[in-house]
């Protein structure tokens, strides 16, 4: 396969910092970002999402056909490929890999993606280089499912899978000759606490436009640098070549020395992260939380939520929390997601006056500058945030100040993340919370569980037996419909309506979407950062050093 970048020259070493050690090299079990960052360089998938275009492209499958009903995908594999240990690749490896991913005993987090319409995908081998995937129902984003599902070398891991020790295999201490993949690099060494070193895979199957075999780099060194500030400092002093996932404030610090230190910085604009405030709309009768249940009368009133949304100074959040490197949003699709953004969603300006009118129309009034509800109760509630996320703590503090101007008494309650999740998902003992989600993909399908009323991450009221409100039932229908609609234009119209509902009925009050910020040493070429994870190293095989 030919890669589209500028032809470069071979050699050199790339040094990258990871926030923590990768936990495993086993692609079936990896859930943390550092593990996945390393595994992406070591493995390949059948169909890949090009991070530059956000569209699918052939990878190990050189082409595929879809049956007319949209339920059968026939993939034609590339011939003559070899794993990084020199063994040949064929359909048996694919069949084996999916068997492992779908095995309930393995508990792979990727399994849930491969269950469509309640049934696991069925994988059938047609011949040594053809595989058919059968879905229980048509699935609009089916091609995208294959992204990141790394194909395993059957000859190396089948025995451990059979003996039931697969979960322990391919930990970081695996000897390099026991590890193989189809990615541009292969494992060289791991030094606990310090680094993982990858070397060029001599059997890699991609070539550049001039016909040279990829990758260009001899080595990638992943250092473990535990804090963001430390990563910024290492990058600034030239120890590392690439930097991503850092704050706007550090961006400004790095900017000052940009020219003398030999690196460049990029602001890619908003990514796929959306931050939001939401209220507890759960049915609390089985939980017995009378205090909160009483306040739900306010939270359930759309005019109350509208007033809150109107009173929040999104521009202030952009300026104070992100030094201007973020964009205010009014629904869940960020301006970075150009394929799915509905640009007709209204963007009302902040108005305390309008907020007060809304509250008044909902029967609220003021008693010596304190807001009271129709029963004369003062409006007081708390906002949960995760204490480990400085940005969201700041957002909550700004919201607190904004709402105090409406006469509401708001308390910010920072909780350790596990404790916060416990309240959001188990005890429902909270009133409001500030959260953020990063879509795993630009496609709406990755968000199914957030917007379906039966979804587990339908945060404000998860796991509903039947939709509690009229707009939730409409949203359910729309989400199911887009899932099986194969035509993009039609799907886009359906998802536009979902965005409208979010903006009008405010199940979550969307706040801002931060920009994706990256940095790279000047000597790196073909560096094309993207707004989808992994922001920087997605085209690692094409990176070369001047």
């Amino acid at each position: 396969m030919v890669a589209d970048g500028v032809p470069g020259h071979a050699g050199g070493r790339l040094v990258v910092a990871l926030r923590s050690e990768p936990k495993t090299l086993n692609p079936v079990l990896a859930v943390d970002e550092p593990s996945r960052d390393v595994i992406r360089c070591l493995t390949a998938d059948l169909i890949h999402i090009n991070r530059g275009s956000l569209k699918t492209e052939p990878s190990l499958a050189k082409s595929w056909t879809v049956s007319r009903d949209g339920r059968q995908y026939t993939l034609h594999l590339r011939r003559g490929l070899r794993f990084s240990d020199g063994e040949a690749f064929n359909a048996d490896d694919v069949i084996f890999s999916f068997q492992v991913y779908l095995d309930e005993k393995i508990n792979s987090s990727q399994r849930d993606l491969l269950v469509v319409g309640g049934k696991p995908i069925v994988v059938v081998k047609l011949d040594a280089y053809t595989v058919r995937f059968e879905l229980a129902q048509p699935y609009a984003a089916a091609e995208r499912l294959f992204d990141g599902v790394a194909i395993l070398p059957r000859h190396l891991v089948e025995s451990s899978y059979q003996s039931g020790s697969f979960s322990q295999s391919w930990s970081l201490s695996v000897p390099p000759n026991q590890f193989a993949g189809l990615g541009p690099f292969r494992l060289k060494e791991y030094i606990p606490g310090q680094r993982v070193v990858l070397e060029r895979n001599p059997y890699y199957w991609k070539a550049d436009t001039a016909g040279n075999q990829l990758p260009y780099l001899n080595e990638i060194v992943f250092l473990f640098v535990a804090s963001e500030d430390a990563q910024v400092i290492r990058f600034q002093s030239g120890d590392t070549d690439v930097l991503s996932r850092f704050s706007a404030e550090n961006f400004a610090v790095l900017q000052k020395q940009q020219s003398e230190k030999g690196y460049r910085l990029d602001d890619l604009g908003p990514g796929l992260e959306y931050n939001f405030l939401f209220f507890n709309l759960n049915d609390l009768s089985p939980k017995g939380l009378p205090e909160i249940a009483k306040k739900q009368a306010w939270f359930q009133d759309l005019r109350f939520r509208q007033a809150v949304s109107t009173a929040i100074d999104r521009d202030g959040i952009v300026r104070l929390v992100y030094s201007g490197r973020a964009t205010p949003i009014w629904d869940q699709v960020t301006p970075g997601n150009k394929l799915w953004l509905d640009d007709k969603i209204p963007r009302p300006v902040r108005s305390l006056e309008h907020a007060r009118q809304l509250l008044q129309s909902a029967g609220f009034s003021w008693k010596s500058s304190t807001l009271v509800d129709p029963h004369g109760e003062p409006v007081e509630f708390s906002i949960l945030t995760s204490s480990s996320n400085a940005q969201r703590m700041k957002m909550a503090t700004i919201i607190q100040d904004d709402l105090s101007q409406l006469g509401m008494t708001v308390q910010v309650v920072p909780l350790e993340f596990h404790a916060m999740v416990d309240r959001l998902q188990n005890s429902y003992n909270y009133e409001a919370a500030v959260m953020g989600l990063v879509s795993g993909d630009a496609d709406p399908t990755s968000e199914m569980n957030v917007w379906l009323s039966s979804g587990e991450t339908h945060l404000w009221h998860p796991n509903q037996d039947k939709p509690a409100t009229q707009w939730e039932s409409e949203m359910d229908q729309l989400m199911q419909e887009q899932l099986v609609t194969l035509d993009y234009a039609k799907r886009k119209r359906i998802y536009d309506r979902v965005q409208e509902i979010v903006a009008e009925d405010l199940p979550v009050i969307c706040l801002v979407s931060p920009d994706i910020l990256v940095g790279a040493a000047n000597r790196m070429r073909n560096f094309r950062p993207a707004i989808l994870v992994p922001y920087t190293l997605w085209n690692v095989e094409q990176l070369y050093i001047q």
Partner: protein
Amino acid sequence: MTHRQKLAGSLVLLTSVQILILFAGFFAPYNFAVQDRQRPFAPPTTLHFMDLRGNVHIRPFVYDLEDSGKSILVSQSDSEHCYPILFFVRGMPYKIAGVFTSEVHLFGVEAPGHIFLMGSDAYGRDQFSRFLFGGQISMLAGLIAAILSLSIGIIVGGIAGYYGGWVDELLMRGGELFLALPWLYLLFAVRAALPLHISQWEVFLLLVSVMGLIGWARPARLIRGVVLSARHRNFVVAARGFGASDLYLLRRHVLPETYGVLLTQMTLLIPQYVLAEVTLTFLGLGVGEPLPSWGSLLSSLQQYYVVSSYWWMFLPALLLIPLFLVFYTAADALQELHKSVTL
């Protein structure tokens, strides 16, 4: 300087600091929570005595700040944005000791001018006002935690040192146990178990108290050492010979020996607990926004961008150095005085 003079000097200084803190509302030009979203990280306002035309003013004045467009605030030095400093001005209302309400501030400038003597923080809040108000909660928390640690320390250390033997062994090993346990999770658990509507003040004091309760092991060790040696002093042995009860001996002869260590520990522990909040903040357990505290002011320094870009954020730390120094001097003097009395 005699120890007595030293002690008097530091007590006067400490008292005046306490007055500043207690009447923070009066001495601070702003409320601690007021945000100025146009002016985050404003540098300290310079006081001017001479205007652009070279006229000298007796009443100092300040220029207003403007966004230069590069996220750096610059001072606008023209006559239009010039605000004289006024004394005993009316401003935002505040409460003294939680009872009296007043609106009079020692100094201030007329809106839309600003005066940030120590610069402003990430939300554009006046650091000087936050420093004064922050003292209230920090001094209180430090005091409470230190008293808790020492009271348990003196009980455990006293018993262990006085009775010795297996009691001593048990209590000291218990102390080691306390040093070893992962207390962080207890703090997490306490924070998570608190009801939603408990004020930030109470949450913070509670967490600091838990820290104080946990922190008895080190002082207990020291006190035990002193008690151990006091027990063998001739006059104690003699008193016991005369049939004095344990309680009498402890109260009359043994515990007075520990005053020196106690005082030193107290003056060391208060600053230590004030600073412990920096660690609490690092873990997200610090005093909740928008309340200020010295620990939270210092903890903003833990970010690289603050340290490398905004020098004035060091000012709270610089102000605390002489304050803590006064504490240590007072401790030294007390210890010396105590020694000269007992000798």
